[in-house]
């Protein structure tokens, strides 16, 4: 992993390290050469690690008090909120933590899209990232079911019913998923089990994600390959550690604001009504972070094709390194891509908005246009753009634009700061 040899100073350290090179690993992590021009969009990797650990720790505590039973789940959540010491705090951190996690992951993903971080040689990092994102959605969905409120129950019913769209075996699969003929106690207990399992799978994949990152090293805002270590890099510790720490603290202020002052604003009021299989809520909506995909699902009139469209919208991301034919990574040097990038951002936000609205009239029309554009972006615009676009000249090293050396690069840098940041 490391480019250089490391020998511990102490005798014991050397003895230990010869048998298990943990110290070499620690040394690699602290010395890891990082491009020095990383902007704050790059701090979200560290923030996401924090989010994952927060979710795991608060989740463990909640699991000590929660009862996964259809008759007792709702009561046990209220017990946590009222009688467990600081139970309200732990639960609100966990519930809002999920939203914060997705907020951070969306910024992280869109940063990759802007700076072309998914391109060679970083395809594996990207694909592992997409798998993590998929698992996150699964974990979040199942977690939302656990309080056994009305949205939990009906959300679970709607989403699991999607599998019935599969020809021939669909109905059988749904019954198998439910563990019965409707969403009920067996569904709740298995969702709890999986909700407990998935975060640890994510943790494992995060290790692989970082490992895969440490082979080629970080991409950077200029998007060029750099020599490591060199004048273009700084050691991870202390430079990046303190910068990530600063960004994390800013993030935590926002997080704390949600937890302490508006803890229920991101949830749905109906989830404070205990699940009732006989009463369907007026509008069944998923959590905000799943809304764009929900909009895609509902924009297709056919159930099976809707499910296919929704899943394709996610899986298409995995093919992105090959769909984007441009050799230039950073959008800073791709004037056309930069515009399409922002249109895509707007498109996804629109999908999210219409996903929260009833699927009828104008909303449905907008959802259909936005869905079509989403696929158009990845399947047509990106491949064609790579051949047609006239890109700006890219610098040879990042030191120069950073120091403002050549006039050409100085313009590039100005552009970068005015457009991106």
């Amino acid at each position: 992993m490391s480019d250089h040899q490391y020998t511990p100073e102490s005798k014991f350290g050397k003895w230990f390290n010869d048998r298990l090179p943990l110290l070499t690993l620690a040394n690699h992590l602290t010395d890891y050469p990082t491009p020095k021009n990383l902007n704050y969009w790059w701090t979200f990797g560290g923030i996401l690690t924090f989010c994952l650990i927060t979710q795991i720790v608060t989740g463990l505590v909640l699991a000590m008090h929660y009862i996964a039973h259809a008759d007792m789940a709702f009561d046990s959540v209220e017990h946590i909120m009222r009688d467990v010491n600081y139970g309200w705090l732990i639960r609100y951190i966990h519930a809002n933590g999920a939203s914060m996690f997705f907020l951070a992951v969306y910024i992280h993903i869109f940063r990759s899209l802007f700076y072309g971080s998914y391109k060679a040689p970083r395809e594996i990092i990207w694909i592992i990232g997409i798998i993590i994102y998929l698992l996150m959605m699964a974990a979040a969905f199942m977690g939302y079911v656990l309080p056994w409120g009305q949205m939990s129950f009906w959300g679970a019913t709607v989403i699991t019913n999607l599998f019935s769209a599969i020809p021939l075996v669909g109905e059988g699969i749904v019954t198998w998923l439910w563990g019965g003929y409707s969403v009920d106690n067996p569904t709740l207990t298995r969702f709890f089990t999986l909700h407990y399992l998935i975060p640890f799978l994510i943790l494992g994949l995060v290790v692989l994600h970082i490992w895969a990152l440490h082979v080629p090293g970080n991409n950077n805002p200029v998007g060029i390959d750099i020599k490591k270590p060199s004048k273009d890099t700084v050691p991870f510790h202390p430079y990046i550690v303190i910068k990530d720490g600063f960004a994390l603290l800013m993030f935590m202020i926002v997080f704390a604001f949600f937890v302490f002052y508006t803890p229920n604003i991101l949830g749905h009021a109906d989830n404070y009504i205990e699940a009732d299989p006989l009463v369907t809520p007026a509008h069944i909506v998923p959590e905000w972070y799943l809304l764009p995909f929900y909009a895609i699902l509902r924009s297709v009139p056919d159930k099976l094709l809707g499910v296919v469209a929704m899943l394709s919208a996610i899986f298409i991301l995995a093919a992105l390194p090959w769909l984007d034919t441009s050799k230039i990574r950073s959008a800073v040097f791709r004037p056309l891509y930069r515009q399409f990038y922002w249109i895509l951002v707007a498109d996804v936000l629109i999908l999210g908005y219409v996903g929260a609205m009833p699927a009828e009239g104008l909303y449905l029309l907008i959802a259909r246009v936005a869905t079509a554009y989403y696929f158009l972006h990845f399947l047509v615009i990106l491949p064609v753009l790579g051949f047609r676009e006239k890109t700006l000249p890219i610098p040879l090293s990042i030191t120069e634009p950073v120091l403002g050396g050549s006039p050409n690069l100085a313009t590039a840098k100005n552009k970068e700061s005015s457009i991106i940041k």
Binding site: W41, E78, Y239, F246, L249, F257, H268, V402
Partner: protein, 259 residues
């Protein structure tokens, strides 16, 4: 630093958009100044005590509050009745207990550890007594309704004669704030219905406000503690962020790159 402010604004914007989209289909609710809103929001102790009185004398004949115990009435951050008062309140209720050594159920006066006594044996009994409609449990009611406290406060004062053309079935009433305007609960409040022990004039508006405050506390019994802790936590984080910012500047000044 400039970038940071931008990221920060993005967050703020995001939170604004979120709250807007959730409150999308809103009706204008009646507004009042809730003492528990805002960074330092606290419950009005007297309002909570009066609200409890309205709940027991009016609401509790149909609505249960199954997650509350009599001990909560003496808890910090709540109505803060004295322990003796809370004990007396509990003792004024008959609680079914048992089985005793002979295997029989018996009733006894309530204790602090008892949950609020339920008005009906079960959901079916509640429905049977209320024309088929189940009076919802009130423990988390304000969190379970889109408009929250403003909605409940408005609903209690929203009874009107139905507009021309709207016909109501027997046992259905017109309320301008109710979803679909039809409600199975009749108007419960009228001026002077409750005689407040602290001498406050019991107008419909006053009772609505008091009982809604009480319901807010019932749904969020740790609200005051949450606000106090939140303020400390955020101040702490801001100070730490500033310190880390200057440390970062210091460390990065060793190389010729801006952070």
């Amino acid at each position: 630093m400039k970038n940071f402010l931008r990221i920060f604004f993005l967050f703020v914007l995001f939170s604004g958009v979120q709250s807007n989209s959730i409150a999308a289909e809103k009706i204008e609710y009646l507004k009042t100044d809730w003492s528990f809103k805002g960074l330092f929001g606290k419950f009005d102790r007297a309002a909570l005590q009066r609200g409890y009185q309205v709940y027991t004398e009016v609401c509790s004949s149909c609505h249960s509050m199954k997650y509350l115990s009599y001990r909560n009435l003496a808890q910090k951050g709540g109505p803060e009745f004295t322990e003796a008062q809370a004990k007396a309140i509990a003792a004024s209720f008959e609680v079914k207990d048992g089985p005793n050594a002979d295997g029989d159920m018996f009733t006894r006066p309530g204790k602090l550890s008892d949950k609020f006594v339920m008005p009906y044996e079960n959901v079916k009994a509640a429905q049977a007594a209320n024309g088929g409609a189940y009076p919802p449990d009130m423990s988390v009611l304000v969190k379970a309704r889109g408009g929250g406290v403003d909605y409940i406060y408005s609903l209690l004062q929203g009874y009107e004669d139905p507009p021309v053309g709207v016909t109501l079935d027997d046992g259905v009433y017109y309320n301008k704030y109710m979803y679909g305007n039809k409600i199975k609960m009749s108007n419960q409040l009228s001026d002077g219905l409750v005689e407040y022990s602290d001498g406050t004039n019991s107008t419909v508006e006053q009772m609505s406000k008091d009982v809604t405050t009480f319901l807010m506390w019932a749904a969020e019994p740790h609200l005051e503690e949450r606000h106090q802790m939140g303020f400390k936590a955020i101040i702490y984080l801001i100070i730490l962020t500033v310190l880390v910012y200057f440390s970062m500047k210091r460390i990065w000044s060793r190389i010729e790159t801006e952070v």
